[in-house]
Amino acid sequence: MTNGLAVKTIDLVKTFDGKEVIKNCNMTVHKGSIYGFLGANGAGKTTVFKMLIGLLIPNAGNIEILGLNRVDKENEILKNIGSIIETPMFYEHLSARENLEIHLSYMGILNSNIEGTLEMVGLKGTGKQPVSKFSLGMRQRLGIARAIIHNPQLLILDEPINGLDPVGIRQMRELFLELVKNHDMTILISSHILSEIEHIADTIGVIVDGQILEEVSLSSIKDKFLMD
């Protein structure tokens, strides 16, 4: 057990068809922080996130989440994780509210403030609309609502602000900061654009070709790795 850490990966390796796409990945995310995971497209951000959630099985290495071993305590860990991996998918014929209800049922939560959560992500009054009528930005917001509605300790967000307009991006940044400050969440957020996460992240991990080159405080990173 590692107290005070939300995520710790030790020498994580993942290979696809014999090709090593994640190489000795060592990541340390402190509880109550926002960890920005920065890397170009194809660097391995989503692969690492999928391994954290259990969607991919590492070929080597160890993962501890919220002080628990990933393999031994899978369900306990998943109860405390909210995530967006790639584009959030929904049951199109159902309303936003029904989609969230289904999610809560799977998470084993009977009562939750669905309207309040929709309002938090800027979807107030849209709960009854079928998701098929939602724009890309609205879907992204609903994806964030689904990730946070069960009040998880750890949020894993893979490029969550894709498809949002500048106002939406600002609103989501404020929401992420609020979730860390007032809801004791830890956020692991990825992006391929430094400017997207530099405003909110406490620490930034830079991944290049499947290898985390460095985990540094935000202030020193700009000089080292300027990315578009």
């Binding site: 969607l55 991919l56 991996i85 049922s105």
Partner: protein, 235 residues
């Protein structure tokens, strides 16, 4: 498990399949009258002897209805399983704190139960309607006996379970191929193949029981293979 099954019903619009069952029932009702009327086209035609008597009509009708419900079952599996596991929604499904095996079994159970219940109701309704009309305006030159009714009940249950089992086997093929067309076509081909093998022997009990046993064993094997694949599936 019951909660998971309820969630499946909520996620997938079950009304579509209930309406489909009604439509199938109406079409198949027409079909049973066609089967009963066929020998009257040419009473001297030896080939049409296959359609003479309640026993033959019950067997033929049940086999064809089984094919129809097996295809309906495969359509349901396409939506409940293939679409969900081969699309991006599987990312969400696998990130829930529930064993993958349990979610998968809930899907199997809901589709299998629906197939069996829908087919039993459809068969009984059609046979009841046909039976009543036979007492008023008989097309078949035989009387309905207790044996006939027993045959209806037995054949209906055997064929309903077979339809559900063949649906599972078709789902297994579609799951491995990650293809909706493969699921539906497999269901049709499996039924056609097996029905052609056993159709001629359906009037006696033993071949029907062997047929049922084969489909049940097949369904159990396929389910285990798919569940094992599902448990270690990476997405």
């Amino acid at each position: 498990m019951f909660d998971l099954m309820k969630l499946e019903l909520k996620k997938n619009n079950i009304r579509t399949y209930i309406i489909s069952t009604f439509v199938i029932s109406i079409i198949m009702l027409g079909f049973i009258y066609l089967l009963a009327y066929l020998p009257q086209f040419d009473p001297n035609d030896a080939d049409l002897e296959l359609f003479v008597g309640y026993n033959n009509i019950i067997s033929l009708f049940s086999v064809i209805n089984m094919t129809v419900f097996c295809v309906l079952s495969s359509v349901m599996y396409s939506r409940f399983v293939i679409e969900e596991y081969s699309g991006d929604r599987v990312l969400l499904l696998f990130s829930y704190p529930i064993k993958r095996r349990k979610i998968f079994i809930s899907k199997l159970m809901i589709v299998s139960l629906f197939t069996v219940i829908a087919m039993v109701l459809c068969n009984f309704t059609i046979f009841a309607f046909f039976g009543v009309s036979e007492t008023i305006y008989p097309l078949v030159n035989e009387s309905i006996t207790l044996e006939t009714i027993t045959k209806v009940i037995k054949t209906t249950f055997i064929m309903a379970v077979s339809a559900a089992c063949l649906g599972i086997i078709a789902m297994g093929i579609g799951f491995i191929q990650k293809s909706i067309p493969a699921t539906i076509i497999s269901a049709f081909l499996l039924c056609s193949l097996l029905c052609n093998i056993v159709a001629g022997t359906l009037t006696s009990d033993a071949p029907v029981i062997v047929f049922l046993a084969i489909t049940i064993i097949g369904a159990i094997i396929v389910s285990s293979i798919v569940m094992k694949k599902n448990s270690c599936m990476e997405v």
